[in-house]
Symmetry: C2
Subunit: 423 residues, 2 copies
């Protein structure tokens, strides 16, 4: 488990002055990793760290000797902590690296980005009990929360090939759907296209096949976290998902934010995980007794929508909902890793573990339109008069996340945006 160290000291300032502004997502205490290149320049993807409104080219400053992010992620926790300390020291006010490193900075808004690492396998979990209950009610009115939910961190495998970075567009998927009263299915563009507010936990060092990761050691196998949008076609999902789970309703596109906020950076933002008295005690392989008070994280999240009309009128996105992971997630990241590997399944550097839709207990905290509009029955009216049950072509959906707590410098996860286009 990662501890708070000197790199979190809120008094630390950077010689990159934009990093010191209040509300900046990427202060010196954050230092998230991503892959970038200068827009319009032919080159491979480089590994960078966001600082203020700049990106530091890690290879250019000699901190790494590879362009392969997955290699960097595979390093031991000790090596990663050392890299973080070097970065923190080099970017601090008064550092002797200042003159040299300045030449390795590029403005973020002159860069393009890609998925921050090579994703081998992508698993999506289902960690919000509020989401599971609300959605369960819609698919199975008599049986919303299944009996296994509070024993097993329910998860399933997703599609890695169609994950794209923030700023991408995707075509509205077409597929089979069947209305409850229809005799046979029909085919066409999805009419119930939705988003899902998620976090994506990236695996750092993996495990050998047949060698489970112990819960007490599980977090050291995570590299960091991004925002993640698991776009979902609810009408396709309803018809296809039994008995083997969602497939074409999910695998047409997913969107990830460009920056992986490391587990080291998250250390000040831990939270106790409080189980309700009536909830069962998990089986021992899922219980980290030694760290009970600090196994979860407090990450604030919000969802914003900007329609094509709003964009044309230069109107800012409107907030659809907001929550916090500590209110939404029934299972911790460490529990996801321990469960995933308990059968001997091998994780590899760069694998992605989606949290599942992070909906909090109140209806204003719902992480999908399916929940916010009660499956389209209660459409939302936007400030400009437009109405939404599900997403329309031209809609841009934006996820944002940040961490703040007393005595620590606020850090941000940046932004994860994606736009639906006509099929």
């Amino acid at each position: 488990m990662y501890d708070i160290d000197t790199t979190h000291d809120p008094k630390l300032k950077s010689w990159v002055v934009s990093a010191n502004q209040t509300g900046c997502d990427f202060p010196l205490q954050n230092l998230p990793f991503g892959r970038f290149k200068l827009r319009g320049i032919e080159s491979g993807w480089k590994i960078g760290v966001a600082i203020g409104d700049q990106v530091l080219d890690l290879r250019a400053v000699g901190l790494i000797d590879t362009d392969d992010m997955n290699c960097v992620m595979a390093a031991s926790p000790e090596a990663r902590q050392l890299l973080r300390r070097k970065l923190s020291e080099g970017l601090r006010e008064g550092s002797s690296q200042h003159p040299l490193w300045t030449s390795a900075l590029v403005p973020q808004d002159e860069c393009e980005y890609t998925v921050p690492c090579r994703v081998g396998d992508y698993t999506d979990f289902y960690t919000s009990v509020h989401h599971a209950t609300t959605v369960g009610k819609q698919f199975r009115p008599d049986n919303p929360l299944l009996p296994n939910y509070k024993w097993i961190p329910i998860g399933y495998h997703g599609r890695a090939s169609s994950i794209r970075v923030s700023g991408s567009t995707f075509k509205r998927p077409r597929g089979q759907t069947k209305a409850p009263d229809a005799l046979i299915p029909s085919f066409g563009p999805s009419k119930r296209l939705d988003y899902e507010l998620e976090l994506g936990w990236f695996v750092g060092a993996g495990n050998e096949q047949g060698e489970p990761i112990d819960i007490g050691n599980a977090e050291s196998h995570l590299f960091g976290v991004t925002l993640f949008n698991d776009w979902s076609a609810r009408d396709i999902q309803g018809w296809e998902y039994q008995p083997l789970g969602p497939f074409l309703s999910k695998n047409f596109a997913s969107t990830v934010s460009p920056w992986m906020v490391t587990m080291e950076a998250l250390a000040p933002f831990r939270a106790a995980f409080e189980r309700a008295a009536e909830d069962p005690q998990p089986l021992p392989y899922l219980e980290d007794e030694a760290n009970r008070a600090r196994v979860a994280f407090s990450i604030s999240l919000e969802v914003l929508l900007q329609t094509a009309k709003m964009r044309e009128a230069s109107e800012a996105p409107v907030r659809l909902s907001a929550t916090n992971t500590s209110r939404a997630a029934y299972w911790t990241p460490a529990q996801l890793v321990a469960h995933h590997t308990v059968n001997g399944c091998n994780l590899q550097p760069g694998d992605l573990l989606g949290s599942g839709t992070l909906s909090g207990p109140e209806s204003t905290e719902a992480g999908s339109l399916m929940e916010l509009t009660v499956s389209g029955k209660n459409p939302i009216t936007l400030p400009n008069g437009e109405v939404r049950s599900f997403l329309e072509d031209g809609d841009t959906l934006i996820l944002r996340g940040w961490c703040e707590t007393d005595g620590a410098t606020r850090i941000g996860l940046g932004e994860c945006s994606g736009t639906v286009v006509a099929p």
Copy 2:
């Protein structure tokens, strides 16, 4: 769609004399691709083609200039057909390549193998209606075959990282299970470990995200086929699989045969797909009217078991079941590709499409122990007196496959074996 060409002429013989023996899996008419290296020698994986009891090193003979199988698989159908013709001509009796190519041959039994390409995403389908019905009866007695089955080629995403090549062992998985009459789940080694007899279809050229592959063109995006064993822990599956599908019950290990038999090699073994009169006509995106009479394949399959006791007593494996794809599969490989991409999902070279368990209509044609023993209720007694409901530690399970038809030379898929060891 691939046509029968001169490379299939049954009169053709090879100067590799072992390739001309009756019953050989790898005659000149086959030419399957795999990755090999000489056992005990430090080297990277090389690309080879099986011929008789030998492997031809493709780079050594100058037919390719890469060790990356996925690059070879990404080639156009025309380029692949040209490569096949050069291979066929060079290995024919009387070829001028004979002296030169002889030095690029290594005996198969002196080689080790790996998964034949880099698998990005692995999808498992559920194409046998007999399997779906029999298993459905066990999980849902009142509702065995769900209403979507004959409309949608049901599939879900599997785990790519834990796929291993034939000859591998894996530890019996541990996990959560819950007996129907138990109040809470328990944890331990799976007591209902099973195999699944499948074919694995490998993707050749992929498609861009958002650009579906038309059914008429779908088969040209497949490179070839292997035998595939999707090991399954039925007790873990029963407790975890709702509502998002199988997860830890499947992702601990899968086993694939070393040789990809190409679509070109399969061309003589086509079969008409005959739908029963009462079955619905698929939606147009799944119907290849122009090729109705030749969209399926006839591949014979068998499953054999060798227990630890049998191995110690040098007793040959015993056959558990046998079937043929044309009796087992409700959906064709082309339909799997067209369905998978109809929503814009992008396939990439090397992606694996599992057929799902290929059980034929008779009980002796079942592709899993769950079916053969009726979920353990009717155990099998082996010739040596041992009894099996599910797999025991030390059991080796072997899949074999081959194609034969009048007027064509028999070709084989080789063997896919795997052994369970104690956790």
